[in-house]
Symmetry: C3
Subunit: 165 residues, 3 copies
């Protein structure tokens, strides 16, 4: 069993479950009801909203914002300064009930600075390039880039190379 580490400046709310070997770094806030699997790395200045579920072996880089309604599978990579959303038409003066849910499947990579509009699930091992604005769902192994994001290729069998269309 590997040890869990939580930096002294991190804020961990009540009723949070954190798996063995997971590390949580400075100035990060894990909200009530969050469940995080084993052997994850949660970087610095990250926010994880209420009741978010995160699988095993995920890596979430500094400055990323993961709000209620988002679910991450196993071995998901979230780059730095990635931003999720959970309301389609936010307005400061209109109270909106519930969240639009977003599922990020096993093995997905979301590159640095990407923005994920809620309700757009991202399929198994898909690769979202840095700076992409995801406005549509992404199928398994799909490669998306641009603003708005467009599918430009497919991840090959070794999980690392891209075959462009």
């Amino acid at each position: 069993m590997s040890l869990t580490f939580i930096h002294r400046t991190a804020g961990i709310d009540q009723d949070v479950e954190i798996g063995d070997g997971t590390k949580i770094w400075r100035f990060t806030h894990i909200s009530k009801g969050v469940v995080i699997g084993k052997d994850c790395i949660i970087g610095e200045g990250v926010f994880i909203g209420k009741d978010v579920k995160i699988g095993d072996g995920c890596k979430i880089q500094n400055g990323s914002q993961i709000f209620s309604g988002v679910t991450l599978g196993n071995f998901v990579f979230i780059g730095p300064n990635v931003t999720f959303t959970n309301i389609l038409r936010p307005r400061a003066n209109i109270e909106q009930k519930g969240y639009v849910e977003t599922y990020i499947k096993d093995g997905v990579t979301i590159g640095a600075g990407a923005v994920i509009i809620c309700g757009n699930d991202i399929g198994k091992k898909a690769f979202i390039a840095a700076g992409t604005v995801v406005t549509k769902p992404v199928y398994n192994f799909g490669v998306m880039r641009g603003n708005p994001g467009k599918i430009v290729g497919r991840i090959t069998e070794d999980d690392l190379k891209i075959r462009y269309y």
Copy 2:
């Protein structure tokens, strides 16, 4: 009268005015001379620069950067990781006097991860989609998206739906 809340890790500089019922969350810094209205929510890791004025009922999400020269009206929604600027041609070796001002009117929504180039005012109830880079002013009720941002529609009467052009 509702209570004002300031998280113990937030930094509030001198000569700041904060209205009743406003909440300021962790690791946020409010600079000298800032005026914030009533019933606002300022999220985590937010920076508000010197002398910024913020109206009533605004919601500013985590990680957003609002620099001197920006003014927010009432009921403005600023999504997470939104970035303002206040100099058009920043250079590390050239000292530039003064800021280019930017006015965000009542009821505006600025989506997650958007970047607002200074000097581009955003009109009443306009809706800036997540990930937009705003390089031109936006008129009242306008809907902008993309990089560079383009006007693609108009907000309808209920403030929530978009009529696309």
Copy 3:
């Protein structure tokens, strides 16, 4: 000799060198082996990865993420919420050795919210507009904007104006 300032909430790891007159602000983390020159300003909530080298007179704004493998020359301006990367195909389940290096030459400006894909060097005094996603190298004095970033002009002799192509 001007004084060095380090905010009490900043975290400075071992074996860091910080030049005279450099200021480091709140919630910023400087990792082991980093070398920072004279008269720099490192803003709030910034992360500087292991062994990064930063020249003299640089300004790094709030929320920017500068990872191992990045080198900044002298008088480099990094806007707020700028994100660098250091692996081309990150995957949570695949351990990747070494980093792809990125050199940012003297006098470069990188605008707010830009994302720099690793391995794309940026030439002397080049200007990267706010919100740009840099996917190709940029030559000296080049002006890039968009997603993906395209060269649209050239910086003129005074370092501040742009001649568009």
